[in-house]
Subunit: 326 residues, 2 copies
Amino acid sequence: MFLALDAGGTSTRAVTLDASGHALGYGRAATGNPTAVGIESAVAAIGHSAQSALAGEVATDPVSCVIAMAGQQTPAFLNRVSARLGSLGVGPVLLQPDLLGIFHSGTHELDGYALVAGTGSVAARIRDGRLERVVGGRGWLLGDEGSGFWIGHHVARAVVAALDNQVPPTALTDLVLAAVGIEAPGSPIDRDRALHQLLTALWARRPVELSAFATLAFQSHADPAARAILLTASRALAQLITAVRMPDQPGPLVVGGSVAVRGMLAAPHDLRGELTRAAAGVQVIPVPDGVVGAAVLALRSAEIHVDAALFDTLRAEVGRVAASAA
Amino acid sequence: MFLALDAGGTSTRAVTLDASGHALGYGRAATGNPTAVGIESAVAAIGHSAQSALAGEVATDPVSCVIAMAGQQTPAFLNRVSARLGSLGVGPVLLQPDLLGIFHSGTHELDGYALVAGTGSVAARIRDGRLERVVGGRGWLLGDEGSGFWIGHHVARAVVAALDNQVPPTALTDLVLAAVGIEAPGSPIDRDRALHQLLTALWARRPVELSAFATLAFQSHADPAARAILLTASRALAQLITAVRMPDQPGPLVVGGSVAVRGMLAAPHDLRGELTRAAAGVQVIPVPDGVVGAAVLALRSAEIHVDAALFDTLRAEVGRVAASAA
């Protein structure tokens, strides 16, 4: 038996499966990313999702495990998560980059590209099933252009500038105020009250929480301020793709992360012109998460060859147990 | 006797003077801004600079005091600073906005505009000696476009993107690495080492410290990446001026803060085209700090009329004691 986990920045997904790709159970929990929430919470979420996927039973036969995750893979985290999963009869635990989890959720091939834009943004060239080159993903302060944080941060700044009368009004203002639970200003004079409430509310949060506003930009993409932000974000993601593309490698490009999949790929065509150009000639495969890829990596780690047929089985099986667990 | 203080984000300046504008002493200390360094450190710096300006003596006659300072003026800070200065025989203490200190460092007139771009950026319209409208200055995360933080942040991001091969090389890279004490990469492969050292070094600092890189952009203003950053910053400062200008008010515009005065106003003309246009028809007066203005406010608080002649005396006198204290 195998346990495959996708420990994402928003949630963790776990699936148990056998060597033929048949899925046995599925579990979901909060984020299992130690960089985002610390080792304690991450290990708890991973343990919780694994328990669900094992249907509450402690495995008697050996269960090898792959966790696909973003960020730094520290020995401290590996020790703690191995101990937790060991108590469920699961081990050994192999940590893999989230980019490989995403890539292999879209294809069984060993060469291509991956682009992930969720809270952060990063792209990679994959060759022989390994990350050959990774670009971006340097965190909210110094990188992550075009990511959920980047878009949400610019949305918040645009609303502050509009409430401050520095720039024309934007449709984003009412959406952001509503999201934070602040009453929209009834008059121009009332703007100052709303602005100060907003500044106070946003300073009380962690900067990275600004990424929650990214969906508001897509929601009001016809608004000039929102449009300008999304165009710049789209260009930044295009730049990531361009930076990893090589003439000798035809693709495919597997795309993951809510900003990329539910945001950019679903946005009007004119908003993502450069993105489309950057991906020209490459098959683009959007995926909802990295759990199928984690399953591919788990089977491969046991030297099981994952061909097109087994990959299709895996994808269908994970879809089946995920749907019945929803 | 009067004590006038400019408690800036980088340093504090204090001057003692009499009712005729004759300066008696001058003192300098670290930042006296409680928002930047906390109440303890701010009060210590203010006390230290005041002691120097009083030449180490405790005043026997009453000394009224004005402190020009940015940020929130809290009762807790006023209580603590009043107690500290009271021990030197100084009081009462009146807190005034730094924008008025800057404005009155450039003119004795009661109407006009002020623009300050140091670590932050803010502009104001002044009428009858009061702030009629303030725009900008919302802090590094949500505002402060065109400020030292904004420029330094974009410099750091540009260097990270260049080391990551996302964008063409920039002259900023070697300057930033040298400023942080990291050896410039000797080869393309060595770039990864430099990038990781830089990310580690920058994450260990407070975000606001990125403003130290602003001077590097001005230093290499011919570099395309630096130029693009400075052009956007210049536009943002122009936007602040435009937001406070009114047709019925001819100026002057007093400009303070190192980024505005030593950076923008000293930059090649083509970099600040929009800034020049935004200030068209207005007399622009750069000032090095707000201590002359604090002196103007101190005299006015004692109902002394500061006319052109007294203002010129004040400015010359503060210049004299500041130079002899340097």
